[in-house]
Subunit: 319 residues, 2 copies
Amino acid sequence: MTASAPGTTLLVLDAEPLPRLGRLTGRVRVEHADASTLADRLPYADVLLVWDFTSTAVRAAWPGEGRRPRWVHTASAGVDHLLCPELAASDTVVTNARGVFERPVAEYVAALVLALAKDLPRTWDLQREGVWRHRETQRVAGTRACVVGSGPIGRSIAALLKAVGITSAIVGRVPRTGIHGPGDLDRLMARADWVIAAAPLTEQTYGMFDERRFGVMQPSARFINVGRGQLVVESALASALARRWIAGAALDVFAREPLSPDSPLWHAPGLLVSPHMSGDTVGSRDELGAQFVELYERWAAGRPLSNVVDKQRGYVPGH
Amino acid sequence: MTASAPGTTLLVLDAEPLPRLGRLTGRVRVEHADASTLADRLPYADVLLVWDFTSTAVRAAWPGEGRRPRWVHTASAGVDHLLCPELAASDTVVTNARGVFERPVAEYVAALVLALAKDLPRTWDLQREGVWRHRETQRVAGTRACVVGSGPIGRSIAALLKAVGITSAIVGRVPRTGIHGPGDLDRLMARADWVIAAAPLTEQTYGMFDERRFGVMQPSARFINVGRGQLVVESALASALARRWIAGAALDVFAREPLSPDSPLWHAPGLLVSPHMSGDTVGSRDELGAQFVELYERWAAGRPLSNVVDKQRGYVPGH
C-alpha cells in the first residue's frame, strides 16, 4: 500500500480467477481472505466482495467479533449461502449480481429442454455403440412449461421458452399480473410438459419439490432445476424417475456441491447431471467484476445502490 | 375390389407404418409395392405415393416399360432419391412434403446449436464417469450463423435461431431480397459461429462443403448438416475436425444411409452423429398422410397442385 492509499478497505473472499477491479485499482485498499481467514479480517473491511459464491464462509463468520462491513456484495444471483439471521437483522446492505445470469441460465434451460425433446442423450449413447436407430422425437412448439420462480431469471427463462414456441406459466411467492401464486402450483405442474425450478432458496421454497409434487406431474413431463439444490427432495426425484412417474429430469444444482463421487444421483435412470454451471458463460466473470465496480462507484459517491437484497425475504424484490 | 371401385389406382411405395388415407379409403384402388415389385406395377398406377422416402427404387425403375403415373408424390422434403433425367423430362408431375418438416428440423438445429454451445455432450461424458467438472460455456445470443439453403427449411432454421438471439445469413442458389447468392458463401462462412447445411442435393450443391470450405471457417465455429449427406465431403470434414480447423460438427445425414457400423465417422473426434431424424417428430407421419390426401383431392378435382417440384432444379421454387 502506498501513502496515497485511500481509507476504504475492500475485502475479497477469493476464488480463481480474481476479479478485475478496473477503475478501482489503486483507489481502494484491497485485502484478500479465504474461509480460514475471513473471520479475522472482517473487522477491518468496509466492503466485502463475496467473489467465491460457492463458499458459506460468510454465514460461518457472522456476526463474530468487532466491526462489520457496511456493505456485502455477492457475485451470484442467490444469497442463501451468506444470509444468516444476524446479518439479516444488521444494518449491513447486501447486494447481488442481478442482471448477469438471466440470459445464460435461460439459454441453458432452453438447451436442456430441446436436448430432452430431441432425445439427444440417447442419440449420443447410440453413437458410442455405433448403432443407427431412427426414432421420432418430440416437437417443442405448443408444449407447456411451469416456471417456478418469478424473479428475473424465471422471467427470462419463460421469455426464451416462448421464443421457441413453449407457453410458460410463472409461479411466484405472491400472485400479481402475469405471475401465479403458490396456490396454483399443483394445478400448473399437473398440466405442464416441463417443470422448471428457478426459485431462490428460502424457508418457503426449501424442499418444495417432494414426492407429492412429483406425483402430480404427467408421466410424459420432465423436471429441470437450475435454482438451488435444496428446493428438491433428491431422493423423491430419484424415486419418481425410477417408478416412471415422470419421463426425465436434469439437475444443475444439488443439496451438497460438488456432488459426492458416490452419490446415486450420478447414475439415476433418466437423470441428467451438470455441475452448477447454467449461468457461467465465457465472459461472465468480467461482467461480474464490472458490475461490482459500477456498484462501488455508486456507493462511494453516496448514491443509492441497485440490486439490494431484501434480507428477510432472501432475494431482490421484483417489479 | 368391389364393383364400385373407382378408376384411379394409387400405388404406394411402402414403409411402415402405412399411411392413413382417411377420406380416400374406398374411393381409390390402392396397390402396394416395394423395391422388388415397383417396376412391374408402375404401368398400372395413375398416382405413385413414395411413402418410403429412403428408397431409391423410383429412380431405379424409371423410365421402364409401359405407361407411367401422371403424378408422383414423395413424403419427404428432398427429391434427390427419385429424380432421374427421364422423370425430369417427362410430363409426370412431382410434388413433395413442403410444410411438414420445417419446424421440426429448425427445432432440431436449435437443439444441436444450444447443446454444442453449452457443451452438453462433454457434460454427459463426465456424468458417466461420475466427475464434477465446472466449465464456462458459450452464450449463443449475439453469435452468427450462415444457413446454406434458402428454401422453407433453411428460412425456418434462420427464424428460430433469430428467436434465440442468433443472427443468420441465408445463402441460396440466386441472390434475392434477404438471401445471399453463392458468391457470398466463403465470406459468410468465414465469419460464422455456426454453419448450417440445409440445401437440396443438386448438381450445384453436391460436395460443396469440401476441404477448402472447412478451411475458411473459424477454429471456434461448428458445422451442422441436416440437408443431404452428399453436400459434404465426409473425409474432408473428419480431417478438418482432427486438425482442429473447426471446433465441432453434427451430421444428421450421410452419403450412405444407414451409416455403416464400421464407418470411422461414428468415432470421429468432435463429431455428433444422428440417424437422419431431424424432421421426424411424433405425429409427422399423420401430417404427411393428411397432406397427401389434401393434394389428392385437388388432383382428383382437376385443381392445380401445390408443392410442385421444379424437376430441372430439383426442388419446389421459393418465394
